[in-house]
Symmetry: C2
Subunit: 369 residues, 2 copies
């Protein structure tokens, strides 16, 4: 596959860590929320192997925050998600599909409840702030909405716990998954959550004090030497094996949460009021017509830069591949595909044309591992 | 400056023309509205010289459309912009700042009035569709909002008129600036506007029928041979010389239209109702505290990947450079900067540090040419 340079500009914002990761050998960027997101430090396979064994520090400042505070903040946040947040607790993170009035997905952020009237929506790649502003203006809600100056550092991998303990003490190892708390470093308080976009364990540090954050960045690499720390980024192999869905890749505004297998985050029988509730009740009643599933393909390489049709033995289109990569674990290409309902059966055979060569494969459940 | 690959994925959508421009030698991409936007075909200077003399075809599918139709469509469109559209005409394009209730810029699209109850907002790089949906839901407006399948081809440069005449006949040369009309090609009707993101003249073809559009793409290169047609893209040198502002680079949500010199698109004395009107009246009364101006710098090269501080002789910060490039015409670096009001005077001296070397420069009016 041909390679192309990314044309940098202020519009594709750099992060406070950009100069550091460029000195550390970043080789490719994606763009996420109008910001540079590192996509590779050389081989993605090597980085995958390293992530599963050791610990990595990721510049994921592109995961921007939408801060919503004020008297009506809980009402607005609930309006945007089909997950019931009425019993949500301060100090916890919640994975929440955000949907519009037609139940089409707009984003799938993690929402942090900072206080009864203060929330951070830690967004995937779409301008949720504009949706929130539009709703708040239209409904005359008493809220304050803005993008705070938060640049997340993720510390991911099995050795992340030991590394973070060395810096922040044992208290940080006692934090439960999707909990968050505040920790001091270099004169600043950092919100740290036990979360991150891998299934290898770890933390996300919501850096608000840039100076302290940069010092912490360097400290992580200094202290991390004994744990073989390396710079990294969300890893395409690992995230597909783990079925961490990517908004814009695996799902978008034309999909509803049921089609994306997000059923457990859809609380239709609750009392809470959210957009698309009636529409989702209809969908539940009628049943979905397609669904995100895994596929395993008998191929050694793939580049998915747009959706690729999947066909059955009769050469009829039965779905589309939306993400895919060669998995060293399975020694095959694995991917995430939207499949028509009749074909959402494990072991259903599929065919796919990659660079004009037809490969065979089969449907499987998500996650792969 | 180091170069980095762009990591392609479905989330950074390819366009129908991507495979063609890759065969034609595109070397760099930007990302615009979650889509690949070509940023260079080799030397930007060579492309600049060519654009000013001949004709180029640009894949600007990243200029996405937000279609708003229905009984309340005019009301919603007007609500989002400070430009008075009450006398707008079907068949015309309107450059319109879109602002929020605090008068902060959200986008600066060209709005096409397709019918009394049907509009296209041809957007710069932010998800205006989410703002429109939020407002429509909140205000219970009777509208239909979606992103139609439109992939714009721009034909730009002084010879664009002759090239387009050869394909579409003399009628197309009679179109006025910012007018649009429909033209047949290969069995499909294409909306073509006399517009484009350069000051060298030309057209934008709003391709809805992809098959016909691809055939037209090839035809433009076939017929264009005699006019020395080349593939191209928005040119950083040309657009800065012409002061075509770029949302996300030169201005963003922290700026209001007056600060960006967009006064003639702010109609505060009209009867129309739009967001931020009271706020803008306040701004007009108090006066602005900073403004976008041109700067000419005694340097031979610059890369602006984030804003760069500008200082005065006393080393106090007096503004920031937001875009900049070496101009072959001026044989100096030129740029667009937000300057504190006391320093918005033509010939005001400025200093700027580029790669740790301090350069001198001065303030000037926009546009440069």
């Amino acid at each position: 596959m041909k390679k192309f340079d990314i044309a940098k500009s202020k519009r594709l914002r750099s992060t406070p860590y950009t100069s550091r990761i460029e000195n550390q050998g970043v080789t490719a960027y994606s763009v996420y929320n109008h910001m540079l997101l590192p996509a590779a430090f050389g081989s993605i396979k090597d980085s995958y192997n390293h992530l599963k064994e050791h610990v990595q520090v990721w510049d994921v400042a592109g995961e921007r925050q939408v801060e919503i505070s004020g008297k009506d903040s809980a009402k607005l946040v609930q309006l945007m998600t089909c997950r019931d947040l009425s019993k949500s607790k301060v100090g916890r993170c919640y994975y929440c599909p955000i949907i519009d009035d037609k139940a089409g997905l707009i984003n799938d952020p993690v929402i942090l409840k900072l206080g009864e009237e203060r929330w951070w929506i830690s967004i995937a790649d779409s301008d949720v702030i504009l949706f929130a502003k539009g709703l708040a203006i239209g409904k005359k809600l008493d809220v304050n909405i803005f993008e705070p100056n938060v640049d997340i550092l993720a510390v991911q991998g099995p050795k992340s716990f030991k590394l973070m303990e060395k810096i922040f003490g044992t208290k940080i190892t006692e934090m439960k998954f999707f909990g968050f708390d505040y920790f001091e470093y270099a004169g600043a308080k950092h919100l740290i959550a036990r979360s991150g976009w891998s299934k290898q364990g770890g933390y996300e540090i919501y850096v608000q004090n840039t100076k302290s954050g940069l010092s912490l960045y360097d400290k992580l690499f200094e202290v991390g030497k004994e744990f073989d720390v390396k710079p990294g980024c969300p890893n395409l192999i690992e995230r597909i094996e783990s079925a961490l869905l990517s908004y814009g890749n695996d799902m978008d505004n034309d999909d509803n949460p049921f089609e994306c297998g997000l059923d457990k985050y859809v609380n239709l029988d609750s009392e809470v009021n959210f957009l698309g509730k009636e529409k989702l009740k209809e969908v539940r009643k009628k049943g979905i017509t397609r669904k995100l599933m895994g596929v395993i393909i008998e191929a050694k390489d793939i580049n998915v830069s747009k959706s690729i049709s999947l066909t059955n033995d009769e050469n009829s289109k039965i779905g589309e591949l939306r993400s895919g990569i060669y998995s060293p674990h399975f020694k095959k290409v694995i991917g995430i595909a939207m499949l028509d309902k009749p074909y959402c059966e494990v072991s259903q055979k599929i065919k796919i044309s990659i660079n004009d060569v037809v490969f065979e494969g089969k449907v499987c459940d998500l996650p792969f591992i």
